[in-house]
Amino acid sequence: MASDETSGKDLTAADSSSVEHVTAAVGTAVVGTAVVARDAVANPGFPPHRPRITDLDPRAEKRAERTVYTLFYLSIVGSIFAIAAYMIFPIVPEDPGSVRLNNLFIGVGLALALLALGIGAVHWGKALMHDEEGSDERHPVRGSDETRARAVEIFQEANTESGIGRRAVIRNSLIGALVVFPLPAVVLFRGLAPQDQDPVALLNQTMWKKGTRLALDPSGSPIKASDVTLGSSFAVIPEGLADLEHGRLEEKAKAAVILVRMKPEDLNQLPERATWSYDGIVAYSKICTHVGCPVGLYEQQTHHLLCPCHQSQFDVADHAKVIFGPAKRALPQLPIAVDSEGYLIAQSDFLEPVGPSFWERQ
C-alpha cells in the first residue's frame, strides 16, 4: 500500500510544484506514439476556493444543521413505523390483499428509514463538513529499484537454499505430482449423473408406444377422435404419464404432443406419412427442435405453430416444417390411429428423437 506523506493536507498547503512532476514523468517513461508537445499550455494550478453558502451565512449553516438532524430523526420514525407495520398489517391466510399491505407498509417504513439516514449523512457531508479539497501525491505503482532488487535477491536465495533450479529431477517430479493430483476430483464429477444410464439412448426414445392412448394435459383423461373438433388444438400427454411416481417431468419433457384437427384436404402430407393421421387429426411433438421450449401457440387461421421463446414457426398443414426462425428441423410427427373404442392411440413411438438437436443425433 502506498503511503502518503501529504495525506489530508489542504490544497493551499499542498505544493504547487506538482505540475512539474508531469514533465519529469514524461521525460522518463516510454511514450509510444504519443505526441509530447513542446509548447503545451502549462497547468494553471488549483483554482481559488469558492466558499459555500453555509460557510458565509450562519443562518444557512443553522438551517442545514436542522435539516440534517431532522432527517436523522425522520429515519428513526421510519424504522419504528416499519416495526409497527409488521404488527399492524399481519398476513391473513388466504387474503392476498393483506400480503400487499404488509409488503407496502413495512417497505415504506424501511425506505423512509434508509433514505432519510442516507440523505441526512450526504447533506451533512456536503453542506457542513470542511469543504476544502485536499491533494495526495501519487507515486509510481512499481516498487522502487531497491525493493525490486531485494525481491530478485530473495528468489535467488530461495533458489540456492532449496536447489530447485539445480535439482531438476526433484523439481520436475514435483510439477508432475501437482499436475496429476487434481485429476481424481475430475473423475468424481462423473457421479453428477447416474452411472448406469446412457443419455443418447434416453434421448432416442419417449414414453409413447404402440397403442398408448392420447390423453389430455394435465388431467390425463384419454381423447376420443370425435371430441377433436375442426380447427381445435389440444396439449396432449401419453395416458399414464400423470400417474407416474418417478420421472413424470422428464417423460413429459419428451412426450408432450400437440394435437390439431384440420380439413383433410388442407393437409399436405408426405406420402410416406399418409397413414400417420386420422381424418385430418395430426399429432406433433410439442418440444421445439431449436432449444426445447414448448411450441405452445397455435394460430388456427394459418395453421402455424409458434414457439414463444425464439419465434420459430412451424406449418402444421405442411408436416410441421420450419417456415421462420432459428429452428432447422420440422417437429417430429407422432403416428396416430383410433382404437376400437374410438380413442386416439399412438401407432408407435416417434420415429426420430424429439426436442433440441444434440451431437449424437442421427
Binding site: D4, S7, G8, S16, S18, H21, A29, V30, V31, G32, T33, A34, V35, A40, V41, N43, P44, P47, I91, P96, V99, N102, N103, L104, G107, L110, A111, L115, L117, G118, G120, A121, V122, H123, G125, E133, D136, R138, V141, L192, A193, P199, E250, A253, V291, G292, C293, P294, L297, P308, C309, V322, F324, P326, G355, P356, S357, W359, E360, R361
Partner: protein
C-alpha cells in the same frame, strides 16, 4: 499496580476516558492505528460517474443481506409436494418444494415478499450498475496503465454477476425459470462432442431431473458469492494501490490526486449513499412487483406463456439466439452440427473477449508505457469512443431482439419484420454508430479549440460603427481552458525497419491499427497558437 501503569504508552495517558482506553486496547492487539494513519485521510476525487461502481458495491451488500434472510426460509429441493399455503389459486397443485417454499416466503412470511423483491431488484441493479460502471471506465480510458488488470477483475465480476443472476432466477422452479433452464439445456446440447454429456451431468440425468435446483443453490449461495467477495476485495485493494483516477481539471496532474479525505467527508457521503441506494431499492420493492412466480405456476415442460423473457441482462444472449438466420443446422460425418446455436455462442464469445482484451489491444497500438491517472474526456479519444458506441449499439440490438415478440404485438408489427429489422440493426447499426460518433467527437474537439482560441459566445450582440453586427466572444479563464487543452494526443505509428532492415508483419498490423486509431486527430491548442490568437476575439 504502579509498575503496570508505568508501562503504558505515553500517548494514552493524555487521552483519558473510555474511548481512549478502548482504542488503546484494540491498537495494542491489532496495530489498527497504522491502518488509520495510512487510510484515514486518503483522498478520493469526487464525480457523479464515480458513484456507478459504488452502486454496484452497495447493491451487492443489499443482495447479501436480503439473500441471507431468504436462505432461512427457502428449501432447495425438487421433491414433489401439494401446495398448501395461503395463495388460493395454487392450492392443491403439485409442485417442487423449492417452488412451494418460494410461495411461502411470498405469502406466509411477514416481510418475506418484501425481502424477495429487494433481493431481485437489487440483483437487477447490481448487473446494471456494473455495466454502466464498465462503460464509464471504458469511455474515460480509466483502463489504461496501471489499471489493465483491474479491468480484467471487473470484467470477471460482471460475468459472475450474470451467473449469480441466472442461478438465482432459476431457484424458485417456476414455469418461467424452468423454461430458462430448458433453453440452457438446449444450448448446451448443441455444443459439439461434449454437449449431450454436459447436459446429462449438469441435470443429473435427463432434463429437468431432480438435482438442478440444489446444484444451482450451492453455486448461488456459496461458490459464486465467495469468488465475488474475493474479487471485490481485490478490486478495491487495487483502487487503493493505484489511487482513484480523476477528471482533467486545473491543478490536477498524473502525479497527484485531488478530492476529499476518507475521514470525514468521503465516509459521510459514501456511507450516506449506501443508505440512499438501499432506500431506493426498498421503495422499488415496496411498490413494484418483480418476478410474480405465483402467476407463472410451477414448472411443467408443456405449457408456456407468450411473451417469455429472461431477466434483462440475459437478454443479449437470448436475442442472439433469436436473430440467427434460419436453417443453420446440418448432419456431417454422422453428427449434428447446430450452427443455429454455435454461431450466437461464438459471436457473443468474440464480443466479450474483445471487451476483456481491449485495454491490452489499445496499449499495444499506442505503445504508451506511462501511467495514466487523468481520465480522457470521451471526445478526446475519438476512435475509442466510436468503437465503444459501436459495441453499445451491437449489444443493444441483441438485447432488443430478446423482446422481438413483445415489440411485434405492442406496435402491431409482423414478427418477421421485427427480426429482419433487428438483424440489420445488429450488423449495420454498429457501423453507423461508429462513424457518427467519431465525427461528433472530432467536431466537439474542434469546438473546444474554437473556444480556447476565440472564446465562447457571450450572447451579446454589438453594432460596430460601420453598421456591422457582431457577437462578442468572451475568453475562457485559464482554469476552464486547461480542461480543453490538456489531453493526450497520439500520432499514427511510422513503420521503421528493424536491425535486419525488415518490417515485421506484426509491426505492419500495429501500424495499420495505429493509422485507424489516430489518422484523424485534432491536436490540443499550444501556447504558440494561443498567443497568435490573442486580440483575435472580438
Amino acid at each position: 499496580m504502579s509498575t503496570t501503569t508505568d508501562m503504558k504508552p505515553v500517548a494514552t495517558k493524555k487521552s483519558g476516558g473510555f474511548t481512549g482506553a478502548a482504542a488503546n486496547y484494540i491498537d495494542e492487539r491489532t496495530s489498527v492505528s497504522t491502518a488509520v494513519k495510512e487510510l484515514g485521510r486518503k483522498i478520493f476525487p469526487d464525480h457523479w460517474s464515480f458513484l456507478l461502481g459504488e452502486v454496484a458495491l452497495y447493491s451487492f451488500v443489499i443482495i447479501l443481506l436480503s439473500g441471507s434472510f431468504l436462505t432461512f426460509f427457502f428449501q432447495a429441493s425438487m421433491a414433489e409436494v401439494q401446495y398448501d399455503g395461503s395463495y388460493v389459486p395454487l392450492k392443491g397443485v403439485e409442485m417442487s418444494v423449492a417452488m412451494a417454499s418460494s410461495l411461502d416466503i411470498s405469502f406466509d412470511v411477514r416481510g418475506g415478499l418484501l425481502m424477495r423483491q429487494v433481493h431481485h431488484w437489487a440483483a437487477l441493479l447490481f448487473v446494471a450498475s456494473i455495466g454502466l460502471h464498465m462503460l464509464r471506465i471504458y469511455f474515460t480510458g480509466a483502463f489504461r496503465k496501471p489499471r489493465e488488470l483491474n479491468w480484467v477483475i471487473g470484467f470477471v465480476l460482471f460475468i459472475l454477476a450474470m451467473a449469480e443472476g441466472f442461478t438465482g432466477y432459476s431457484l424458485p422452479d417456476d414455469l418461467l425459470s424452468g423454461n430458462g433452464l430448458r433453453i440452457i439445456d438446449g444450448m448446451v446440447k448443441g455444443i459439439p462432442v461434449v454437449g449431450t454429456w454436459i447436459s446429462f451431468l449438469l441435470f443429473g440425468g435427463e432434463f429437468p431431473g431432480t438435482d438442478i435446483v440444489g446444484r444451482l443453490y450451492s453455486l448461488h449461495i456459496l461458490l459464486l458469492p465467495a469468488i465475488i467477495v474475493a474479487l471485490i476485495a481485490l478490486h478495491l485493494l487495487f483502487v487503493v494501490v493505484h489511487k482513484h483516477t480523476q477528471y482533467p481539471g486545473a491543478g490536477r496532474t498524473d502525479t497527484n490526486v485531488v478530492g476529499y479525505p476518507v475521514l470525514p467527508v468521503y465516509a459521510a457521503k459514501a456511507g450516506g449513499f449506501f443508505f440512499i441506494v438501499f432506500g431506493v431499492v426498498m421503495l422499488m420493492a415496496s411498490f413494484f412487483t418483480i418476478n410474480p412466480i405465483w402467476n407463472y405456476g410451477p414448472y411443467d415442460p408443456s405449457p408456456v406463456s407468450a411473451g417469455t423473457q429472461p431477466d434483462w441482462y440475459i437478454g443479449f444472449a437470448d436475442g442472439a439466439l433469436r436473430l440467427v438466420p434460419p436453417g443453420l443446422e446440418w448432419v456431417w460425418f454422422g453428427h449434428t452440427w447446430s450452427f443455429n446455436i454455435l454461431i450466437p455462442l461464438t459471436v457473443i464469445g468474440i464480443f466479450i473477449a474483445t471487451v476483456l482484451f481491449y485495454p491490452f489491444i489499445e496499449a499495444w497500438i499506442t505503445g504508451d508505457k506511462r501511467e495514466h491517472h487523468i481520465l480522457d474526456r470521451p471526445r478526446n479519444a475519438p476512435t475509442r469512443t466510436a468503437i465503444g458506441a459501436a459495441g453499445v449499439t451491437f449489444y443493444a440490438g441483441l438485447w432488443a431482439a430478446a423482446s422481438s415478440d413483445i415489440m411485434a404485438t405492442h406496435f402491431k408489427l409482423t414478427m418477421e419484420g421485427v427480426i429482419h429489422t433487428l438483424q440489420a440493426v445488429v450488423i449495420l447499426g454498429p457501423i453507423f454508430a461508429y462513424f457518427i460518433t467519431k465525427r461528433v467527437c472530432l467536431a466537439l474537439q474542434k469546438k473546444d479549440r474554437e473556444i480556447v482560441l476565440h472564446g465562447y459566445e457571450s450572447g451579446r450582440i454589438v453594432r460596430l460603427p460601420g453598421g456591422e453586427y457582431i457577437e462578442v466572444h468572451q475568453p475562457v479563464d485559464e482554469y476552464e481552458r486547461w480542461k480543453l487543452v490538456s489531453y493526450n494526443n497520439y500520432k499514427p505509428l511510422e513503420l521503421a525497419p528493424n536491425a535486419q532492415g525488415k518490417v515485421s508483419p506484426v509491426q505492419r498490423v500495429r501500424a495499420g491499427l495505429s493509422r485507424w486509431f489516430f489518422e484523424d486527430r485534432i491536436a490540443p491548442v499550444g501556447t504558440k497558437e494561443l498567443e497568435e490568437s490573442h486580440g483575435d476575439h472580438h
